[in-house]
Amino acid sequence: MTSVLLSLYVLAVLASLVLKTPIVKGPWLFLLRAFFPNWKFFHAVGHVPHLYARAASIHTNGEWLWSDWQWIYPRRLRRWFHLFHNADVNLGLAQQNLVDHFWADLYDLPSGADAQDLVTYELVVRLVKAQLRLSHPTLCQFQFELRMELSNADGVTHTDTMMRSPELSC
């Protein structure tokens, strides 16, 4: 009996790979998505959202002098003890997840709605500020953009800018 049930279960899981079902969304479903894992890890290769930002400082003639666009992406040094304690790396991964969620929120944004009302927008602003302050301690003006990048094994092959923020003050 158990083997029959187990075989049916495997068939049902296989069917779920092929059959398209409507995507159900909602704020609580998002917050409690851990109860409905889909177990699809690292499966799709395609355009991936990446965050870029630049900082401004006041030039001697009173105009803003903008830095180059800087990629906001977590990179850390590997250590064996990270297997037991890896707080900083996991925080970096959570920040990259935030960028993914920001992209998803922008994608789902109804026409006419303001991206600045999104929780993810506000969190991304905080992330950008914190990251830029590492290289620009006297940061007072900044801007960020979300780019969709397609990569192959050798590097980025295509980039589209999905959104650019207004120039923001700290």
């Binding site: 158990t2 998002f30 177990w39 304690h85």
Partner: protein, 266 residues
């Protein structure tokens, strides 16, 4: 058929490994207190807008206050220690389950993706066992809990393997190089062996096939041990390349259930 002693061994191993996983997670959360402070990136004052019911926000404000949240984390650490040393109880598991859900909400549904999901799966399995034990024969309730954990763990590998196998970029091995280049520890070195298309293809197919055939682990306890041993090595590699240490511990906690269930039905 699993003997009472065997069942006890399986449940103790599961609780012990889960306790390690929960303990390590909690220590990391405590280390990240600055990030969840009022001035941190993950300030609750911003995130509370995620809660759609405005009447619920003040209740969660009280729970998510930095001092309360920190107290919850310390209590969770103590509870994990108790679980590891003396085993679970209904009250302990209920606390760990509810605390984990609160922590997930604090991090907008997940802090570390799949590892959070699997941690919740194992806690749900324990909850099934302890709640069920109040109403039916505890051994039967434990079997239900173990099967729940096993089915989720087996599905995680099975699903993960098949979704990759359906993608041409995974079948060619190219996807593996692309994902590894985007990893947190930096791109692969120019001469890394996984940059060679043939070897990347071999690597991709090796673990896709192992993942896709994971349900076979339930055919015999020896097979279960073999599949779980390979899984441990796989998760170590995932940690080494992607920094996902929590995945290693979260999935390790499911292995006693997988081995136990492979014995249950022979």
């Amino acid at each position: 058929m699993l003997t009472p002693t065997g069942l006890l061994l399986v449940t103790r191993a599961l609780e012990f490994l889960l306790a390690i996983s929960l303990g390590l997670q909690t220590l990391e959360f405590l280390r990240l207190s600055e990030a969840t402070s009022a001035h941190g990136l993950w300030a609750w004052s911003v995130q509370r807008r995620d809660i759609p019911q405005t009447w619920l926000r003040p209740c969660l404000d009280a729970l998510m206050r930095p001092s309360t949240y920190k107290t919850l984390l310390w209590l969770r650490l103590v509870a994990a220690l108790c679980l590891g040393l003396w085993g679970g109880s209904l009250a302990l598991v209920l606390f760990l389950f509810a605390g984990t859900v609160l922590i997930l909400i604090r991090w907008r549904g997940a802090f570390n993706g799949g590892s959070d999901f699997m941690t919740l799966v194992v806690l749900t399995g324990l909850l099934i066992a302890y709640v069920g034990g109040e109403f039916v024969n505890p051994a039967l309730a434990w079997r239900a809990g173990l099967w729940y954990i096993t089915l989720q763990a087996v599905t995680s590998y099975f699903m993960s393997g098949w979704v990759k196998m359906l993608r041409p970029e995974w079948r060619s091995g190219a996807a593996m190089t692309i994902f590894l280049n985007a990893a947190i520890y930096g791109p692969l070195s120019p001469k890394h062996w996984l940059r060679k298309p043939g070897l990347a293809c071999f690597g991709a197919w090796s673990f896709m096939l192992w993942e896709a055939t994971f349900p076979l682990a339930l055919m015999h306890p020896l097979w279960a041990l073999l599949y779980c041993s390979v899984a441990a090595v796989f998760h170590l590699l995932v940690f080494w390349f992607f920094g996902l240490n929590r995945f290693f511990w979260a999935w390790l906690a499911t292995f006693p259930a997988i081995v136990g269930c492979s014995v249950l039905w022979i």
